[in-house]
């Protein structure tokens, strides 16, 4: 898929810095991501990929600079608005962040419950998304009893169940074999086709090369290149 440079940007970062104490996790990042783009963020371990995603959903605040998201300035957002901002995102975390005391079903349903969806609808949607990722049989299992790859698939299911505007995926296939990974990627492509903006952080250059989408390359917190292969 080829990037359209002048499409409306959904994410704009201007000279963004992120410091953790004396550690510079991100240094002077300026970039645009358009609506309905499919973009990779790559770079070696510790480059700042996860940090970049965190800034977008306000998991962390920027230390310096500005981020515009869908027209809103993230530094101006009040505490009470944060949950509503987050509902625009489908988030897949590197460490999954599933609730260990809740069943797979409840973990996924949570995303719909917070928006006040009807219980019947929730049932239907959760089951359907679980079928997509091939985990429909583990509806009532608890995350600690799942294998690494199974947990990752649940995390993906949770991210997409709410039909988000933007999917932020941090190494979404790191623990998956080639076949399962293909299923997940097909799912992302399907959402992309329906208009969702997709941002994937990964260290896997192979993956990026195969998909042929734009990739943003970070190194030690600095933007090295933003290239369409």
């Amino acid at each position: 898929m080829i990037q359209e440079p002048h499409k409306a940007a959904i994410i704009q970062m201007f000279h963004v810095h992120k410091y953790y104490g004396s550690k510079n996790a991100l240094v002077d990042i300026t970039l645009d991501i358009s609506k309905n783009e499919f973009v990779f963020i790559s770079g070696p371990s510790g480059a700042g990929k996860t940090t970049l995603l965190k800034l977008l959903y306000l998991g962390e605040c920027v230390s310096e600079g500005q981020i515009l998201l869908d027209g809103m300035n993230l530094s101006r957002i009040s505490r009470r608005q944060i949950p509503f901002l987050r509902r625009k995102f489908g988030l897949i975390f590197q460490d999954y962040k599933l609730i260990p005391t809740k069943t797979v079903f409840d973990n996924i349903a949570l995303v719909l419950e917070v928006t006040g969806k009807k219980s019947r609808l929730i049932q239907k949607k959760v089951k359907s998304v679980l079928r997509t990722v091939g985990m429909e049989a583990r509806l009532n299992s608890f995350p600690p009893s799942l294998s690494g790859g199974e947990q990752q698939r649940i995390a993906v299911a949770r991210a997409v169940v709410g039909d988000p505007k933007i999917i932020l995926a941090d190494e979404p296939t790191g623990n998956l074999d080639a076949d399962s990974a293909t299923i997940i990627f097909d799912l992302f492509k399907e959402f992309h086709a329906r208009g969702t903006t997709i941002i994937i952080a990964t260290h896997d250059k192979e993956l990026i090369r195969k998909s042929g989408n734009r990739s943003i390359y970070l190194k030690k917190g600095c933007l090295q290149s933003s290239s369409t292969l």
Partner: protein, 294 residues
């Protein structure tokens, strides 16, 4: 509808975190047990001392010259004094009989009297109130100021000490009850804080998938209230069973006719349950405030 949704979630939550909930409820039970036991102890000791205190009387002796009509007038005046509970007339004849009774063995002393030298008198009992010695003194002074009253007599030294110490006892009792209550509140809040602390990653995840603060808090509040209710009902029930057990075995021998040992009145028990529910909520409130700050 919304409430029933949160209620369902709270119940689900309790079932998902059985260990943590059991520990919280158990801690609330123990705290209620401590508070309840002390209240029980204090109420009964208070009753007991109150029963003795009732025996405090002021004797007001009339001038021998007082006419029949003056006696009734004095009685009316005495009854008007604030703090006076009851006034009883004791004729000189009755007084002599009482004295004979009191002296028992030595009553032979009084046998060969021809005239009764004792005066008529009023026995004044006081309203049961937290009493300080000064208050009794004030009343006595008022009584003495009535013209037809010749002399006033009230209590020996030990009664003075008794009323003062009783007042001190009550005061420290209330202070300690308050302290216990505060300690219990803090212990319960602590426990709930620990529970929420051990569930903080869960809370973080909820926030990150877009849950509003009230969505996260509501089930915790309901859980706290349920825990408080369970804990306090359990606490009071256990206290009652212990009470029954001890007093069916021991107290029988100690029943007296001017003092009955009683359990916490129904109103206090009810308040405790409501208080427990409030406590559960309050503990959750304090802890959540802390964890949801960022």
């Amino acid at each position: 509808m919304i409430l029933s949704f949160f209620f369902k979630r709270a119940v689900q939550d309790i079932l998902d975190n059985k260990v943590l909930n059991a520990i919280t409820i158990f801690t609330i039970t123990l705290s209620i047990l401590i508070i309840g036991a002390f209240t029980l102890f204090f109420i009964n000791t208070n009753d007991l001392m109150g029963a003795w205190e009732k025996n405090i009387r002021i004797m007001a002796y009339l001038k021998p010259t007082t006419p029949e009509s003056g006696i009734q007038e004095t009685e009316k005046k005495l009854k008007k004094i604030t703090g006076v509970y009851n006034v009883r007339f004791i004729s000189k004849k009755e007084a002599l009989n009482r004295l004979k009774n009191q002296l028992k063995r030595q009553s032979s002393l009084l046998e060969d009297l021809n005239a009764n030298p004792l005066p008529d008198a009023f026995e004044i009992s006081l309203i049961t109130q937290p009493r300080v010695w000064e208050k009794i003194e004030n009343i006595a002074r008022l009584v003495e100021s009535i013209p037809s009253i010749d002399e006033v007599e009230y209590g020996q030294r030990w009664i003075e000490q008794f009323t003062n110490i009783f007042y001190l006892f009550k005061l420290t009792g209330y202070a300690m009850g308050g302290m216990f209550l505060m300690a219990a509140v803090l212990i319960i809040a602590n426990t709930i804080r620990l529970v929420i602390y051990s569930r903080r990653s869960e809370i973080e995840i909820m926030r990150i998938v877009g849950a509003t603060d009230s969505f996260i808090k509501a089930p915790f509040y309901i859980e706290g209230i349920i825990q408080g209710a369970f804990g306090s009902i359990l606490g009071i029930t256990i206290l009652f069973l212990i009470f029954k057990y001890i007093f069916s075995n021991i107290a029988g021998e100690f029943s007296t006719h001017f003092f009955y040992i009683r359990f916490l009145p129904f109103a206090i028990s009810g308040c405790t349950v409501v208080g427990g529910m409030f406590l559960g909520w309050f503990g959750s409130y304090l802890s959540l405030r802390q964890f949801l700050k960022l």
